[in-house]
């Protein structure tokens, strides 16, 4: 009679062998998102987008080998990012990993680079992400490009005096610099720039200082959704009635839904949810059907992130080239321009995307494109 220990050992060996066999037959794609803690809202949103893309890729039979998703919880910390990336690169043997958050990206980038894993950022917009690693790809336009897009709109609307509330990180610093340099060219002035720590949740004192500088518009530059939510709420509670403006973080469902965000303007990559263009229409309808909610641009980025993988892998499969991180990156740099949901996306020499930017307004708990 087989001993229990022998039975367990042989069972484990069979499982490991099956897993190894399955891996050789599949394209392993990893996700490294925060799935716990205060940033889990982002992780769930991003994962849902990746799963919707997987449904569409599978339905279209784009690839000969199936895609197998492996998820790791980055906890939105550098340490979580490093551990998760090591796991995805060396245990799961992922050739392509979708990730977000600046600290996570910076910790994961050297590990991914060493292991030749293509890393796709669709959430972090700090300009310092542009040159992390040759294998680090930004599928989202970085924040400085979003500010460049909002400046003419501010001038057109006669919002010449702008107050900036920003977290003093590379993202906030770059937005501050863009405003300081760009506003005068449009006939405007940066009347105040107020730096806040990322943990701050009380903005009564900031509201008083904002009121003092008499701005026409208040721009928020924080990468933290909960903080943006509090900024908007507390400034309104403190009698600041001026126009609120922010970058693509304003597109988070929790921000769009809160009453104090009514009228808030935010930029983001072009994504017209009412468009009849087949790719974007399919994404929007798929999202509404599957998740019973309105889509957001962050979801579109990660949807496009996996779609990009399918396009690259499809090209490699057709050419009979093995699908590895190295070949995927080479294919990306060879093709450069892709027709993704939302429009054409072109990658520069640092593998950072540039695409059309749109301006949206929060109205009635929804976002609507205004420019």
């Amino acid at each position: 009679m087989m001993k229990r220990r022998t039975f367990l050992a042989s069972g484990a060996a069979t499982l490991a062998a099956w897993r190894a066999f399955a891996q050789t037959q599949s394209h392993i794609v990893g996700t490294l998102f925060p799935m716990s803690g205060s940033n889990a809202e982002f992780g769930t949103l991003y994962t849902n987008a990746v799963q919707l893309a997987l449904d569409h890729i599978t339905a279209d039979r784009m690839l000969k080998s199936p895609i197998e998703l492996r998820s790791q919880d980055s906890q939105a910390t550098p340490q979580g990012g490093a551990v998760g990336m090591t796991r995805l690169a060396t245990v799961d043997k992922a050739s392509y990993v979708l990730l977000g958050f600046t600290g996570v990206s910076k910790a994961a980038a050297p590990i991914g680079g060493r292991n030749k894993v293509v890393m796709i950022n669709g959430g972090g917009v700090g300009p310092d992400l542009a040159t992390l690693s040759p294998y680090f790809v930004n599928i989202i336009p970085l924040a400085n490009k979003e500010v460049t897009a909002i400046l003419p709109w501010l001038a057109k609307e006669g919002l010449k005096r702008v107050a900036l509330i920003y977290v003093d990180d590379p993202l906030g610093q770059s937005i501050n610099q863009e405003f300081a340099a760009g506003l005068p060219k449009q006939g405007g002035t940066l009347v105040g720039a107020f730096s806040v720590p990322p943990t701050q949740q009380q903005f009564g004192a900031i509201a008083a200082r904002v009121r003092d500088v008499k701005p026409d518009a208040v721009y928020f530059a924080t990468p933290i959704g909960t903080q943006l939510s509090q900024m908007a709420k507390q400034l309104r509670d403190n009698g600041i009635t001026q126009q609120f403006v922010t970058y693509s973080v304003g597109n988070l469902p929790s921000i769009v839904a809160q009453p104090e965000s009514e009228g808030m303007i935010f930029t983001g990559q072009a994504a017209d949810w009412t468009s009849n263009e087949p790719k974007i229409k399919r994404f929007v309808e798929g999202w509404r059907t599957k998740y019973k909610a309105e889509p957001v641009t962050y979801a579109l980025n990660y949807y496009n992130g996996l779609m990009l993988f399918a396009m690259l892998a499809q090209g490699l499969e057709r050419a009979g080239t093995p699908v590895t991180g190295e070949t995927l990156l080479a294919e990306l740099m060879r093709v450069r321009t892709f027709q993704l949901a939302g429009g054409e996306v072109t990658f520069d020499e640092h593998a950072s995307a540039s695409s059309a930017i749109q301006i949206s307004r929060v109205h009635g708990g929804r976002s609507e494109k205004i420019g």
Partner: protein
């Protein structure tokens, strides 16, 4: 798989040093600090600056990190000499908040929120130790040295003095123990070792920013010490292994949906810690009689 296990083992040894260093304060001296991540951070930034601007020698960087953390620990020792118990916890909490602000704002030293990137691979006296096996060996060496030093110190008069203070500060003082001096030395030793751990952490991640040195990290370290067994030599190591490796083990459970993986991990993690504190209140490595 090997690279992943090596990465986890290296992090476990680094956090082992860190937990053992906090154990000097909490377990032996009875100083409940919630600012230990500050000294971890000071060591990490100091070591990273040495590596980035001078030479990426892990010994030199660790010495710099350890010395600077030890010196700055006087900021913690000063309130420690004046207050005790819950009042000290409040004082250390203030220091933790202050330090996070300094780490975030001192751009030229810490890189601010963007942190310090591109920390070069480690060498040791001219020998390249950047490969995972070699760096793990360096970390295991540092851990062994730390534990042996703590064991020797705690077996002598210094250790007995600290434990007397922990059990009753007034009684120790009445018996002629120099309480301020003993506490100051304990804090300096604990924080210096935390600085060494910080330097090793900086080399291991090749990137550091303030997110690794927050109050949450300090609380996690405290949990490692208490769950493992405060005042025991091996307790902090057991606590480190449990708290650091449990999430990694849970991530291998195949049937958890991708969107729920974090929630399930946190639930199991929290439940395990609660059960441990109910059934092993003195910690996993402490004798079951409650004797230290």
């Amino acid at each position: 798989m090997t690279a992943y296990l090596l990465n986890l083992a290296t992090l476990a040894t680094i956090f082992g040093i860190l937990a053992a260093s906090l154990n000097v304060l909490i377990g032996y001296a009875g100083i409940f600090s919630v600012a230990h991540a500050v000294f971890f951070g000071v060591g990490a930034y100091a070591g990273a600056q040495v590596a980035l601007n001078l030479v990426p020698d892990v010994l030199l960087a660790s010495l710099a990190g350890g010395l600077l953390s030890g010196l700055l620990s006087l900021c913690l020792a000063l309130p420690a000499l004046r207050v005790r118990g819950e009042y000290f916890v409040a004082a250390s909490l203030g220091l933790q908040m202050l330090a996070v602000t300094v780490f975030s704002e001192a751009h030229s030293l810490t890189g601010g929120h963007g942190g310090l990137v591109g920390i070069p691979p480690a060498s040791l006296l001219g020998i390249d130790v950047s490969s995972p096996w070699r760096f793990l060996a360096v970390c295991v060496g540092a851990l062994t040295l730390s534990l042996v030093s703590i064991a020797i110190l705690m077996r002598g008069g210094f250790g007995r003095g600290l434990m007397a203070i922990r059990d009753s500060e007034s009684a120790a003082e009445a018996l002629g123990k120099n309480v301020p001096a003993l506490k100051t030395i304990a804090v300096a030793i604990g924080c210096s070792l935390a600085g060494v751990a910080g330097t090793l952490f900086a080399f291991q991640l090749a990137f550091i920013n303030v997110e690794s040195f927050t109050l949450e990290q300090s609380v996690l370290l405290m949990a490692m010490v208490i769950i493992g067994g405060a005042g025991t030599l091996l307790g902090p190591l057991v606590g480190t292994l449990l708290l650091l490796l449990l999430p990694a083990v849970l991530s291998f459970i195949p049937f958890i949906p991708a969107t729920e993986i974090g929630t399930v991990q946190q639930l199991v993690y929290g439940l395990a810690m609660t059960l441990l504190m109910i059934f092993r209140p003195a910690g996993l490595a402490a004798p079951s009689t409650g004797r230290r």
